[in-house]
């Protein structure tokens, strides 16, 4: 358990409407930087702590609905329970940590920052990833990293069907088994640079004890980058 840095502001979603909480969290950075905020009784509400843009630490004491910490910038958001669809979608920077499970499309299109999911994640995790880092402690569902463009995606458990379908330049590291690879996704040998990226992410996400050499890397075979009659079957 991390300890809170300053006097936390405590919002109880049973009492304060989410709109007011989010409005507060969007306040002027000078007043928010370095602050810690606790949100109690989230009860699966959607859109908690979306659009944050200052150096603030938010802890959600329970389960969050869709799009928790969506489009996050700079802030650190911890969800002590599980997260619904699209947690940290389109995140730009900062850290989002889900202590439970995450539903579908976690980190969809995320451009930067780090999403840590301690448990399993659903379908289409890291779909269209655009540069963020994603570490999943458990397994991920089918069609994860679909069209992933950039960023690093670490899976400590297994991956479902069609992993990395139509992937661009994102890197995937899987410790367990992969049910099947999607079109144009292939096994890669891990370079020393990539091994370092992986090792750093394992440390940052609380998995320092896990051996980076126990992962298989995947990425784009780059055969679908250009329209070509020979690829017609894959279109």
């Amino acid at each position: 358990m991390e300890t809170l840095k300053y006097n936390p502001d405590i919002f109880d979603l049973d009492v304060t409407p989410l709109r007011e909480v989010n409005q507060f969290l969007h306040g002027d950075a000078s007043g928010l930087n370095g602050k810690s905020v606790v949100i109690e009784n989230p009860n699966g509400a959607h859109n908690i702590a979306v659009g944050l843009k200052s150096d603030i630490d938010v802890t959600i004491k329970g389960h969050a609905g869709y799009y928790a910490a969506g489009m996050n910038q700079i802030a650190k958001v911890t969800i002590e329970g599980s997260a619904g669809s699209g947690v940290a979608e389109n995140m730009m920077s900062g850290v989002v940590h889900v202590k439970g499970f995450a539903s579908n499309a976690a980190a969809a299109t995320a451009n930067g920052g780090l999403l840590i999911i301690d448990g399993d994640a659903g379908l289409r995790t890291a779909i269209a990833l655009k540069g963020a880092d994603v570490v999943v402690g458990g397994s991920v569902g089918s069609f994860s990293a679909f069209m992933a463009q950039a960023g690093n995606f670490v899976i400590l458990g297994d991956a479902g069907e069609g992993l990395g379908d139509s992937i661009y330049e994102a890197k995937i590291f899987v410790r367990g088994t992969v049910k099947s690879l999607g079109a144009d996704c292939e096994e890669k040998t891990t370079s020393p640079e990539d091994r370092k990226i992986l090792a750093d992410l394992l440390v940052k996400s609380g998995h320092a004890d896990v051996n980076p050499d126990s992962f298989q890397q995947y990425g784009s075979a780059r055969t679908l980058y250009h329209f070509h009659v020979d690829n017609a079957g894959a279109y």
Partner: protein, 454 residues
């Protein structure tokens, strides 16, 4: 038979003139040959090129004895429009109902985006970003800028979302309802690639479904997220390609849209498969009335603050089209192709260059190849220099002013003190098809196929 005899027979038997097949016409045959040679479908820009039932098939009934007209120039005929009254703290106020449709930076050059911004701002209307994000050229020169939120989310970033005046959540486009974007390698220059986070020079195919929601219940949560992030300030538009307009509009409204943008199959595109452009979707004429019916059934049609506004697009060319779209129930229109022509696209003065590209002015549609001699649909730094954004912006502003005035001419003739007072009762149709689609009577009759008995 000797050769001489055959010759004689040829001379004596009357010959029929060479006859092309209506089914296997010249274009069709050329496409078969192209497909046979390449093994890949045809990709092009622009909208449907076939003849479709359209606004030309409608006429206004001016005023006469039973209704009286307004004096041109002296009596006021309002043209302003307010969009996003339902939930947004800051609705959009425009001087004219003619808006600029979303066209991506990437498909269009920087100077073209700047020209659109300049022209629209001078005309008192809005421009819209597109697949690929917001550029400084456009934000800087557009007083009112609508930010598109698309399935690909290329260049999507919350700072730009907050900089926008409205947000348009794009579900589909009339040219390709059910399809994603396409931008071929020639146009994925370093700048475009960086904005979209893609490798330079690849043939980009963007997704057709949003990555983090499926279905109308999710859409409602997604719209709520966009509102939360922007603190409920900005109107949220939902753009759909015309396919099942009644249901799609109803679901968009229920999901919380402030404005619905409805794009018919004539609507232009930067690039997609020819088969998609010509064979999927409805002409805009057939889509407006069902969309308006959905708004009416949900109690949000022209109902004060609690209204959802309707913007329609797809083949809008002049003030008559604007007036007809509004008479059928739209609050505003959007123009894409026409705006590009006003900037200088397909201009006859470039005929020699179009010839070199194997085409002719007015027919050039290989926008995906990025060789546009007018400097509009290109990322070539030399070609784009040819477009002067100030002059082109002027032309666009002039053109929008003409469209607006033309719509006023028609509205005054029908006795209306505001364009929005035009109504279906002001219209008749020239063809049975148009009559059925627009649900206005066939000229000279009281017959509306599907509504009244002949």
């Amino acid at each position: 038979m000797s050769d001489d005899k055959t010759k004689d027979a040829v001379h004596k038997t009357p010959q029929t003139t060479p006859r092309y097949s209506a089914t296997f016409d010249e274009y069709t045959n050329s496409e078969i040959r192209r497909a046979a040679a390449t093994g890949i479908y045809d990709i092009r820009g622009a909208g449907s090129k076939r003849k479709l039932p359209h606004f030309d098939d409608l006429l206004f009934l001016g005023a006469s004895v039973s209704r009286y007209p307004l004096e041109g120039y002296r009596e006021k005929c309002g043209t302003d429009v307010v969009l996003g009254t339902r939930f947004a703290k800051k609705p959009i106020h425009l001087k004219t109902p003619v808006t600029i449709a979303g066209m991506s930076f990437g498909s269009l050059s920087g100077p073209a985006k700047e020209a659109l911004g300049r022209g629209a701002t001078a005309a008192g209307t809005s421009t819209t970003t597109g697949d690929g994000g917001m550029t400084q050229e456009e934000r800087g020169h557009s007083t009112t800028l609508v930010y598109q939120y698309l399935p690909s989310r290329y260049g999507m970033n919350p700072d730009d979302l907050r900089k926008a005046d409205a947000i348009e959540l794009v579900i589909g486009q009339g040219a390709k309802p059910g399809g994603g974007g396409m931008l071929l390698g020639q146009k994925i220059t370093a700048r475009v690639a960086k904005m979209r986070c893609l490798p330079e020079g690849i043939d980009q195919r963007s997704s057709c479904r949003h990555p983090d929601w499926t279905g109308p219940d999710d859409l409602e949560i997604k719209i709520a997220e966009l509102r939360e992030i922007t603190d409920w300030e900005k109107p949220i538009y939902v753009k759909i390609g015309a396919t099942r307009p009644y249901f799609d509009v109803a679901l968009a409204v229920k999901a919380g849209a402030d404005v619905v943008v409805l794009d018919g199959m004539q609507g232009g595109t930067a690039a997609t498969q020819e088969v998609f452009i010509e064979h999927v979707g409805l002409p805009i004429l057939a889509a407006i009335r069902p969309a308006v019916k959905a708004l009416q059934d949900l109690g949000v049609y022209r109902n004060g603050k609690n209204s959802v506004q309707l913007i329609v697009s797809g083949g809008i060319r002049n003030g008559a089209d604007v007036a007809k779209a509004i008479a059928l129930g739209a609050d505003a229109v959007a123009i894409g192709t026409a705006a590009l022509i006003a900037l200088g696209d397909n201009d006859p003065h470039l005929e020699a260059e179009y010839q070199k590209l194997g085409t002719t002015a007015g027919a050039y549609d290989d926008w995906h190849e990025g060789k546009d001699p007018a400097g509009i649909t290109t990322q070539d730094p030399e070609l784009m220099k040819r477009l002067d954004p100030i002059k082109a912006g002027h032309r666009l502003a002039n053109y929008i002013a003409v469209m607006t005035m033309e719509a006023q001419v028609v509205a005054r003739a029908c006795g209306k003190s505001h364009l929005h007072n035009l109504e279906p009762e002001d219209l008749v149709a020239l063809t049975i098809e148009a009559s059925a689609m627009a649900q206005v009577p066939l000229a000279g009759t009281s017959w509306i196929p599907g509504v009244t008995k002949f």
